[in-house]
């Protein structure tokens, strides 16, 4: 070989020849060889080439549905519902299905921001040790899970502030209002539980129970029972709301009442129904004048009379929820609607209203923080009362309305430590990010707050080993507490998270009527993992005494609206994406059930209104409230009041990974810091202005699954 033509070159040439002939021969097996690594130690219960199924709990929202995850060779392949879990009985929603796209998301936080976990634990230990306990605060997600218990124990033992749970879902469900209304009417706080399955007719005042409200899977099952019940006729369903939600779309009658008048409408229907039935007029309805209400609500009096006639003759279940409660008079709306149930004698009856029972290991109803409570939390941050803030399972910078000033307040906290799995907006502002495992890599348990008539404790176990250098937050806290020593070490005398969970769960062994039982804790824990949780075979729902609710005096007060604009504003949680789904590409690509929009945020405007304003589909508008402004594309939505506009919540992230970042707008930015009596933010009580920013341009606009031509007759050259 000469210098010019080395052996290497020859090999290159030969390789080129090989590649060419490989192409020519349609690729021999050599082009397909892959490398395969065997297990070093085969995990127990695993079998070469076979699928292994693990039961765990879905962490996409706080409902606590059971999952069974199919794994193959150490990878999670598919999630299905856990049929053993009485909450979801083997079913999942879209978010549960897409949870794998969170697990294998390309934008996860891959390790502690300090580089290694020793220094991370040191940092947490320092934070615990170097500050006074009352300067340390925990902000957690809505789920009442083992971590919440662990932190609560740590807090109560050391004098730290009790952990605060918050989630945008709870805020948009107006949980505090529901709970407060129950307390006011029945003397007991808790989440009402509506037996839609057994009802003849359902009147829902803004409750979007088929989407994200409280626990959508059991309520969907209830809805199926309403429609398809074996023993009765197809149940009717009436929805009162200003903007047709995916739930309202399934209603037989959709009644677009003016926002803020839901309570009045309820009382008016009650009065008309009571009149139709004859007898003494309950005190509750004495103050309303149905004719006035009809005018205020923007509906025909005849329509109300027809609905009332239905009420008078059939067993009607009235459900308050959603934007109807997020008004200045929201508490009264909730009470008025709940009180309506007395007309059908629904309390504690099949097809009626109960309070959700307590979950296992729960002594009293413990609701997540209301927005108002978050505001005082933020104020403590600002005032410097909190010097250390731990954040886990929630993304407050995104989820807490901007007007509450959470992001600004973060600057006043000396140490912000985020345990975020994903690089969300809060993590971006934190001093340290010590990523927790993804839900499918984690141990745990979760109390089911509502949705099942049984007390359910959903169990979680890792279905795959952690993909990145993450660590369970409970483990980090335990290790840090040991390191900090003193009362911290005493408060958490556990080897690790698993021991903590075992200690807690094995306490259930003593309980009667369990879904399984075992003689020793090891077996009990094994069953707990195998079954994906534990539940009690008893009806734990609390029967309510509603005999006196109609004696209440409802003022029938009018809602007050904040802001100058001409439109009522209805923000709603995106049914497919909810608050934390935006980073999962397949959730982005699911069509919204009502608008079929994918990947973006839209503003729903009635076509008539849009015509008057000279707006068209895909125009960009600015929505302006007293608290802020956002820009989004126009969607001419045929099922919304002309005086109302609506926007979905779920997009508008400035961080949170490539699929979520800089996409759409966040309507929470428009919400002013106004609260109802129960402390929920009045997200339905805003008035907004709409300004056109840009006209629709060819090829730019909302991605819709639907055809505007086929569905609306656009571009077909027809008058419409």
């Amino acid at each position: 070989m000469t210098e010019k033509f080395s052996r290497r070159d020859f090999l290159k040439l030969a390789g080129l020849g090989a590649a060419t002939s490989a192409i020519l021969t349609g690729c021999g097996p050599a082009s397909r060889y892959v490398k395969r690594e065997p297990y070093q130690q085969m995990p127990e219960y695993n079998y070469v080439g076979q699928n292994t199924y693990y039961a765990t709990t879905c962490r996409e929202c706080a409902a606590g549905c059971g999952l069974v995850v199919r794994t193959y060779q150490g990878r999670a392949i598919k999630t299905e519902g856990n049929a053993n879990n009485p909450l979801n009985l083997g079913k999942t929603c879209a978010r549960g299905q897409a949870t794998l796209q969170g697990l294998y998301n390309p934008d996860r936080v891959q390790g502690p921001s300090t580089g290694d976990w020793d220094s991370a634990i040191q940092a947490v230990a320092d934070a615990l040790k170097n500050y006074k306990p009352n300067e340390i605060a925990f902000l957690m997600g809505m789920a009442p899970d083992h971590l919440f218990d662990l932190v609560s124990e740590l807090a109560s033992a050391t004098g730290m502030n009790a952990p605060v749970r918050f989630g945008a879902l709870g805020m948009f469900e107006s949980r505090a209002t529901l709970s407060k209304a129950a307390e006011n009417l029945f003397g007991q706080a808790g989440l009402p539980w509506f037996d839609i399955n057994g009802a003849e007719v359902v009147f829902s005042f803004g409750a979007n129970f088929l989407e994200t409200w409280l626990s959508p899977l059991p309520y969907t099952r209830g809805f199926v029972g309403l429609r398809e019940g074996e023993t009765k006729l197809r149940g009717a369903f009436v929805q009162f709301e200003a903007r047709m939600s995916a739930t309202g779309a399934k209603a037989d009658h959709w009644v677009p009442v003016r926002p803020g008048t839901e309570g009045l409408v309820a009382l008016a229907i009650g009065k008309l129904a009571a009149e139709a039935r004859g007898g003494a007029m309950p005190r509750a309805f004495s103050s309303v004048n149905p004719a006035d209400v009809a005018e205020q609500a923007g509906v025909e009096l005849e329509a109300l009379e027809e609905l009332a006639a239905m009420f008078a003759t059939r067993k009607v279940l009235a459900i308050p929820g959603g934007a109807a409660l997020a008004q200045s008079n929201g508490l009264e709306v909730a009470e008025a609607v709940l009180a309506l149930n007395a007309l059908s004698d629904n309390f504690g009856q099949a097809g009626g209203v109960y309070l959700s029972g307590l979950a296992p290991m729960q002594t009293e109803y413990n609701r997540p923080a209301s927005a108002q409570e978050m505001k005082s939390f933020v104020e403590k941050m600002k005032s410097g009362a909190f010097k250390v803030l731990f954040v886990h399972g929630v993304n407050p910078v995104f989820e807490v309305p901007a007007s509450l000033g959470f992001k600004e307040a973060l600057g006043s906290v000396e140490q912000v430590i985020s345990f975020a799995t994903f690089p969300d907006e809060t993590a971006a502002e934190a001093k340290y990010v010590f990523p927790d495992h993804h839900g499918l890599e984690s141990w745990g348990y979760q109390r089911v707050a509502t949705g099942s008539d049984k007390p359910v404790l959903s169990g979680a176990q890792p279905v795959v080993s952690p993909y990145y250098d993450t660590r369970a937050t409970a483990d980090v806290l335990i290790a840090a507490a040991q390191l900090a020593g003193g009362k911290f070490a005493e408060a958490l005398p556990f080897k690790d998270e698993v021991e903590f969970i075992e200690t807690k769960v094995s306490a259930l062994m003593a309980e009667a009527d369990g879904s399984f039982s075992a003689a020793d804790p090891v077996t009990f824990m094994a069953y707990f993992q195998q079954h994906g949780g534990w539940f009690k075979n008893v009806d734990a729902r609390v029967s309510l005494d509603g005999s006196a609710v109609l004696n209440n005096n409802f003022k029938g007060s009018e809602a007050e609206f904040a802001g100058e604009g001409e439109f009522f504003f209805v923000p709603f949680v995106s049914p497919t994406m909810a608050e934390a789904g935006a980073n999962k590409p397949w959730l982005q690509e699911l069509a919204d059930p009502t608008t079929t929009v994918m990947w973006n945020t839209w503003v729903e405007i009635n076509p008539e209104t849009a015509h008057e304003l000279g707006l068209h589909d895909d125009d960009v508008v600015k929505v302006i409230s007293e608290a802020g402004e956002v820009e989004a594309y126009v969607y001419l939505y045929p099922a919304i009041r002309p005086d109302t506009i609506a926007m979905p919540f779920g997009q508008g992230h400035t961080a949170y990974g490539r699929y979520a970042e800089n996409r759409g707008a966040n309507p929470a930015d428009l919400l002013g810091a106004h609260f109802n009596e129960a402390g929920d933010i009045t997200f339905g009580g805003m008035k907004v202005k709409v300004e056109k920013v840009k006209s629709a341009a060819r090829g730019i606009g909302l991605s819709r699954l639907e055809s505007t031509m086929g569905v609306y007759g656009d571009s077909l050259g027809e008058e419409h």
């Binding site: 929603c93 796209q101 969907t220 959709w254 569905v711």
Partner: protein
């Protein structure tokens, strides 16, 4: 005169696997769509392409509007997926036999590795349920970890569509065979039916009169879409209400 019950149905006409979809209880929640995507390695295409009719959904939920505000109503959600026609218009037009009828399972197969991408099948599908891989859509690492090993990952230039989760059919049949029995009704189901929170989708053997899907299909006034074209679809819809 021939009475209808005397007409012997051919295998194509009776079908083997079928589905009943109850639109009255379908809430449009998209769980089926997500479940299908996860089970069948269906790719996402991003905002621009999905808005340009290039989304890969094997099942989509259609809905229309009736009336004008305030009397406006949304029509019942209509999950639309491959109807697994007994006499499918997509099949005869494929020049390469990539879209071909499975005699064994009475399904419309899409043989990805045989597909050359003429897209004639998609043109000729009256239900417009076929999706084409317009690009090699990127699924960055580590997203491919969730790929279902039982389903081929498709690349650019290939047509694809709902298979009635044929991998699950095979798995169940294989299991039953190894245990020396027939597949029992309800032993397995498709990903969409399994996920559906409302149980609005029921899957099973339509040639077995005892199966749940047969019994549901013969109850009330089910509709098979575009049956007038002679496609012999195997999905029955109930509008209800």
């Amino acid at each position: 005169m021939i009475r209808p019950e005397e007409i012997k149905m051919s295998a194509e006409e009776t079908g083997k696997w079928g589905m009943v979809i109850n639109q009255d209880i379908c809430t449009g929640c998209q769980a089926c769509v997500a479940a299908c995507a996860m089970e069948n390695n269906v790719t996402f295409v991003g905002e621009e392409d999905s808005g340009y009719g290039r989304s890969m959904h094997w099942i989509r939920i259609e809905r229309f509007w009736e009336g004008e505000y305030p009397e406006v109503k949304m029509t019942p959600n209509q999950p639309m997926l491959c109807q697994q026609c007994g006499s499918a218009p997509c099949e005869p037009v494929c020049p390469a036999f990539a879209t071909v009828h499975s005699t064994a399972e009475s399904l419309n197969l899409q043989v990805y590795n045989r597909c050359v991408g003429t897209r004639y099948c998609a043109n000729n599908c009256p239900y417009q349920v076929r999706s084409f891989n317009w690009r090699d859509y990127e699924r960055p690492e580590p997203l491919p970890n969730q790929f279902n090993p039982d389903v081929t990952v498709r690349r650019r230039g290939v047509m694809e569509k709902c298979t009635f989760c044929i991998q699950r059919i095979h798995k169940a049949q294989d299991k039953a065979k190894s245990e020396g029995r027939e597949v029992a009704d309800g032993e397995f189901t498709t990903a969409c039916a399994q996920a559906c929170p409302a149980n609005a989708i029921v899957f099973g053997r339509v040639d077995n009169p005892q199966s749940l899907v047969s019994q549901l299909a013969h109850k009330g006034h089910g509709v098979k879409h575009l049956e007038e074209l002679g496609t012999l679809p195997n999905v029955t819809y109930f509008k209800g209400g």
